[in-house]
Amino acid sequence: MRCQSACAVLGFLNFTQGGLRSLLFYKMLEVLKRPVVVTTNINLNIVALTGVGLLSRLWHLSYPRAVVFDEVYYGQYISFYMNRVFFLDDSGPPFGHMLLALGGYLGGFDGNFLWNRIGAEYTSNVPVWALRLLPALAGALSVPMAYQIVVELRFSHCTAMGAALLLLIENALVTQSRLMLLESPLIFFNLLAVLSYLKFFNCQKHRPFSLPWWFWLMLTGVACACAVGIKYMGIFTYLLVLGVAAVHAWHLIGDQTLSNVLVLYHLLARAVALLVTPVTLYLLFFYIHLTLLCRSGPHDQIMSSAFQASLEGGLARITQGQPLEVAFGSQVTLRNIFGKPLPCWLHSHQNTYPIIYENGRGSSHQQQVTCYPFKDVNNWWVVKDPGRHQLVVSNPPRPVRHGDVVQLVHGMTTRFLNTHDVAAPLSSHAQEVSCYVDYNISVPAQNLWRLDIVNRQSDRDTWKTILSAVRFVHLNTSAVLKLSGAHLPDWGFRQLEVVGEKLSRGHHESMAWNVEEHRYGTSQEQRDRELELHAPTQVDVSRNLSFMARFSELQWRMLTLRGEDAEHKYSSTPLEWVTLDTSIAYWLHPRTSAQIHLVGNIVIWASASLATATYVLLFLWYLLRRRRDVHDLPEDVWLHWVLAGTLCTGGWALNYLPFFLMEKTLFLYHYLPALAFQLLLLPLVLQHVYDHLCRSRVQRHLFSTLVVAWYSVACHVSNKLRPLTYGDSSLTPGELLALRWRDSWDILIRKS
């Protein structure tokens, strides 16, 4: 194809100028002769499917006007976006949240709603319809998309209609897409990625490097990036598409009719579209996220001091105008960099360690040193030069450098940070850290610490506010000041234990500290001098921190943040999903028994699982027979059968099986993306059985009748469950009990 067009271009260039001109004239005349005609192909199936899809998802969308289940969770984030307040959510990248927030933006939401409990009525300023619109649209458009995927897989239109209808009437999918939740956009982009890859793949044979070819290829990458951007789960579909693309590319490499250069072009195009584009887009999501959220908020504490200082308000307001370099005499607060289990500051207070612990061990009975998760006046420490007595900054200030020996003096009690060979209260292998109280007994003060700047540029680097991560190495015992992570008992006010780690087995972030608040030490008579000193060096961290630094920190925190592993009332295990042994009560009407319940169409779920099993068995059977050179299927049918299976069964397996390895709290809705792929597979298996396994006409007729009967049952069940899906009609307790087909479904029945 390409060669021909190139020839045509060459031939065209051979025309003389005059020839060209006459040709143009000729063309214009032709235009005049003929009427202007626009021909379009409209597949009414698709139009109809889109129509009913929209109807099923958008019908009474703003009902109920109350917070339903996880809306309470996503709603908060929408409000944060509206107020441009920074937040951290470890459940997924920000694209999904931004999509929901876009709905809020378009609906003119001002962000003023207290998302505190499920079932709370929305106030009039919440544009419920607009907020729920985007997920609902995504859910509605998945229906015609399923149709197209099956058509692109080269199965019949009837089968394609079947797949789309299954997606249409599946109750769990309907429920999930009618609310402010992220599963339906995720499923939408999953399907879009598969569809565009198939379109691209079908272009590949006839018209490589044509416009549609490029379009579908790029769309694959974009859809994958969006899926990953909504939830990390999207990565499974991305891997599936990548895997299939890699196999196809491998065949391409083996195609010796293509020249080396052409193969290289093909590979490069795929790499750009499927690797570079998604990564760029993913970064772009974060860029927008960080640009939008520029104000400090409730989750600041989790981030590092530098990150916090880059947000408006919060720490930035406090640290503005702080001197950059820590000098002898500086007053500082020291924050632990690891910050687990809680972000906290080095702290001390009047109280001493108990003489004898509960388990009978003794302590030094000196003043407690802890790590305290709240800002407090007791978090202030003065950096003192061991050689001088003053606790103020000299003129000019003498900056503290890497390797210098310092003493740390607790601001409120003027006692020295000290450690000695006494076992720490909870981590008995490590040394106790205390503020030294001289009891006039044999324990001498050991309060010299060597400063070790972990992220130093050179060996004479100075200690900088916020930016430097430092370790304090004890001079006498070479123990390192460390946050052990244990909570002290009541005598320590449940603050966190700080120890001197003697046998440090390598560097760990729990040993690193950074200066957060900082001012040069002043005393009454030195205040005038102090004012002069204040001016020159200032921190402006917000400008120092690049996007990539902010991105990598945020990403790292999102991946490592561990929520409570407490179980939720409606959480379930992956095994319960396949058999639909679980359900989630989403919402209950405050007065009547109308309720929304996430529960699937049990007929569809059972038959989808059955179809998957059938597919796998059939596939293995054919494969073994082919190995013995028995070809049951014609080659092209076999290839389509394999491709369809890889995408649908593979999509199901990849979106489902990894959950068995996950330790987080899981819910039924995590299964929905896998289910969507399974629903695509079901009609394919049916068609295959009809085409290739039913031999006689009688069998075929019988089979078609069975399929129709099965289909009507599915529709009937779907209709039966409709009140739980839409929550629009109140049922009597008897009717509700009748719907409780499994004991484990927690359908709420109001006791009158």
Partner: protein, 817 residues
């Protein structure tokens, strides 16, 4: 002679089987090949051996077949007779079949003189002997030092002692390794009296050399095994030598082999399995022959033993499994084999690789349970019925009151495996988690806090008062359970349980036995009628909370730190009967009742097996790292980031530090990257249909097949650790390191040949190759000379001190020696 017997065997195979299996080696295939290529002019019967020496002369059509991996044609002239004889006499390094001729051609364009093969075989044997000797010498050198417990010797030595004393214990690993250690100790005269309390304790007069010697003996075999594996995979002596040198001179392997640990035993069986698998695959040209059967069954035996030492043995099982599947797939696709033959192949593998190992594995456990028949520290982990067979346990030939009466002091055990006893202690649930009342948990260890008193729900009078008559507890009675140590009642109420939110919280409530109506439980015996008495040990009971109607059970989930990592107890509103909510009474003290000798129904062997596995898995899952501690991460390992202190920390101590020889390890690391690069270039070139010269093709085949095999081994023994939640240590990498060293051997040998092959003349090529291999060997040896104190022990100042002899060798700051 050998030649004759080989041919005889070949002939027999060819005639006795309906369709002789497709041999890899040409020796078998000669008679049949004539059938396939009738046009072949003059194939002398032995010529096919030499086979591919002159493959270039094969017709293009046949070459295509070749590339697809079908049967290579046999055309061309043969090698000298003597060579042939020798080669056939071995149950061929696979090379003898498919590749050797090409490789021989690639390596020495000049045809080797007659007798050179004999010379080479002798050379190989000599090298093998040398390598073995060197390995034993390094492993046994200064084996008795230090004369105190090092690192985990404290566990495994202790467990060896348990076997000698026949005391029952519990460990997270399967028993074979410790059993062998115990056996070695027993045979060498160790009496099991040393306590193995903590690292650093002196052995004094106790005989420990037997156990260390046994581990060192097995550890020494790793080197010859690796040598043979590489020799078989690459058919190149230099590659095998290089591998052997890397392993001999690796301080890490050396250190790990010198102490009473499970690792040398585990690695021995892993390598034995790998070696026998490679050997049986190279016998593929003579299926169902005696060597084939013996290697196949040896593979199965080694697999069972590897798994019997540690669960890490699963990875080598996986590797053998993948290989077997590929093998069967290959045979299945060979249309010249009848389905019956394929079936025979399948059955042989099922027999040797599944049934045999399974039987052996169970036998190991049977021995384990038979040997340990005395009560010991591991009792509480197992069910009451199991404990009854341990002598010394109070359930052994138990003599306790048979029926439960009011006032009895009892322990209550959950029937689900590895859950433990109903337990409470003087700690409250923390704030925010249900009501702030006393915790109730389940606990696997025997403890005073497991004791409960059965009381009537409505009276608080002391039932042990002799003036009252004995009143038995009956099915359906309403009772109160009072915790003996704290005098609080077992209590439940409508609060969420701490972890399983759908269930209700269970607490200890009340003071001195006075509580409220939420302390009342109905006791029921499963499948019994009302009014029956309740038997100790035998009755399976349920406790149903009277007010809420829920059932007492344990969810099996581990509570966080506040609950001392014991298991959660809940009251479940679902009345489904699961083992989690069924209990039995184990200990029973009631002075008013006569003790009756009870013989408890002994559990069957499969039940014991299942139970010990459940307990082991739970134990393994329990080994979780703490948040704020530095833990070894899998990515640290290949770069040799940090070692392990085996002994001593200060400059006055005798220090042994487990650390890989950095030269060897970093060479391995580079080799993996290089291999991936080279491999992908070759694979892509082949996929593009590039025509490789014959010699290069032979080399690339070694690289892809032999190298691929060990690369797979490396990946299987390394990557799964990234998914593990349990606490990890540096020494977990060593099985993977063995594979990585084999890869290095194969890669550098092939790479040097490839580099030298291109432009240079043959003599120059050989020189380049020899110099390259030699410098690698010498480099490894020299680095061993530098780093050997790590393994053999150092005294004196630490390495950061400039006076230390190791001063310049602390190449990474994270090394602590």
């Amino acid at each position: 002679m050998l030649c004759a017997s080989g041919r005889l065997l070949a002939a027999r195979t060819a005639t006795s089987l309906p369709a002789p299996p497709r041999g890899r080696g040409p020796a078998l295939r000669c008679p049949r090949r004539e059938l396939h290529f009738p046009g072949n002019p003059d194939p002398p019967s032995w010529d096919c051996l030499a086979g591919r020496l002159t493959r270039a002369s094969a017709s293009p059509h046949r070459r295509v077949i070749l590339r697809r991996g079908r049967m290579p044609p046999a055309v061309g002239r043969g090698l000298a007779g003597s060579e042939l004889r020798l080669r056939r006499s071995r149950c061929g390094p696979r090379a003898a079949g498919r590749d050797v001729a090409i490789q021989a051609a690639a390596r020495s364009p000049k045809r080797p003189a007659p007798g050179s093969w004999r010379f080479e075989v002798a050379g190989r044997r000599a090298m093998l002997a040398l390598v073995t000797l060197l390995s034993f010498a390094t492993r046994f050198h200064r084996l008795d030092q230090p004369r105190h417990i090092c690192w985990d010797e404290t566990h495994f030595g202790k467990m060896g002692s348990y076997y000698i004393n026949r005391t029952f214990f519990f460990d997270v690993h399967p028993p074979l390794g410790k059993m062998l250690i115990g056996l070695a100790g027993y045979l060498s005269g160790y009496d099991g009296t040393f306590l193995f309390q903590k690292p650093g304790d002196k052995y004094e007069h106790h005989s420990y050399m037997g156990m260390r010697g046994f581990c060192a003996f097995l550890g020494s075999w790793l080197v010859p095994f690796a040598f043979l594996i590489v020799l078989d995979l690459s058919n190149s002596l230099p590659a095998a030598l290089l591998t052997a040198a890397l392993l001999t001179f690796d301080t890490g392997c050396l250190t790990l082999s010198q102490y009473i640990l499970l690792d040398p035993i585990l690695m021995f069986f892993i390598m034995a399995a790998m070696l026998s698998m490679v050997k049986y695959r190279s016998c593929a040209n003579r299926p169902f022959s005696a060597p084939w059967w013996s290697w196949l069954s040896l593979t199965g035996i080694s697999l069972a033993c590897a798994l019997g030492v540690k669960f890490v043995g699963l990875f080598i099982i996986l590797q053998v499994g993948l290989n077997t599947i590929a093998d069967l797939w290959h045979l299945f696709g060979d249309l010249s084999l009848s389905l019956v033959t394929v079936g025979k192949h399948l059955m042989a593998r099922v027999l040797c690789l599944i049934i045999l190992p399974l039987v052996l594995y169970m036998a190991i456990f049977a021995v384990h349970i038979m040997v340990l028949n005395k009560s010991g520290p591991g009792d509480g982990f197992f069910s009451s019925a199991f404990q009854a067979r341990l002598s010394g346990n109070n359930l052994h030939n138990a003599s306790i009151p048979e029926h439960l009466a009011y006032g009895s002091v009892i322990t209550v055990k959950n029937l689900r495996m590895a859950i433990g006893y109903l337990h409470s202690h003087r700690h409250l649930y923390p704030e925010g988690i249900g009501a702030r009342q006393q915790q109730v948990t389940t606990y696997l260890h025997k403890d005073y806090n497991n004791l409960w008193i059965i009381k009537k729900h409505n009276t608080n009078s002391d039932p042990l008062d002799p003036s009252f008559p004995v009143e038995f507890v009956r099915h359906g009675d309403i009772i109160r359970l009072e915790h003996k140590e704290t005098s609080r009642n077992l209590h439940s109420h409508y609060h969420e349980a701490p972890l399983t939110r759908k269930h209700y919280q269970v607490t200890g409530y009340g003071t001195n036995g006075t509580g409220d109506s939420n302390d009342f439980w109905r006791i029921e015996v499963v499948n019994r009628k009302f009014g029956n008495r309740i038997k100790v040990l035998r009755s399976r009971i349920r406790l149903i909370h009277l007010v809420t109607g829920c059932v007492l059970g344990s969810s099996g989930k581990v509570l966080p730190k506040w609950g001392w990592e014991q298991l959660e107890v809940t009251c479940t509103p679902y009345l489904k009967q699961t083992l989690n909510s069924i209990w039995n009474v184990e200990d029973h003290i009631n002075p008013k009742l006569p003790n009756i000798s009870l013989d408890v129904l002994q559990p069957s062997f499969p039940e014991i097996l299942l139970e010990s596995h459940m307990v082991m898995i739970r134990g393994n899952n329990g080994l979780k790292p703490k948040d704020n501690d530095f833990t070894s991460k899998p990515w640290h390992w290949p770069i040799n980031y940090q070692g392990l202190r085996f002994s001593g920390a200060n400059d006055t101590d005798f220090r042994v530090y487990l650390l890989g020889n950095p030269v060897v390890w970093w060479l391995n690391l580079v080799s993996i990257a290089l291999y991936l690069l080279l491999g992908s270039i070759i694979v892509v070139a082949m996929q593009r249909g590039a025509q490789l010269p014959t010699k290069v093709e032979g080399l690339t085949r070694v690289l892809l097949q032999g190298g691929g095999q060990v690369l797979l081994g490396w990946m299987l023994h390394y990557f799964p650790f990234f998914l593990m939640g349990r606490i990890l240590y540096f020494h977990h990498y060593f099985p993977a390191m063995l594979f990585s060293s084999m890869l290095t051997g194969i890669l550098w040998d092939t790479l040097l040949r490839l580099c030298a092959w291109g432009p240079a003349s043959s003599s120059l090529a050989r020189a380049v190759h020899a110099v390259g291999i030699l410098s690698l060997l010498l480099g490894a040896a020299y680095s061993f000379y530098l780093f050997h104190p790590l393994a053999y022990g150092m005294v004196g100042p630490l390495a950061q001190d400039p006076r230390s002899p190791m001063a310049g060798l602390r190449w990474l700051e994270s090394w602590e020696f």
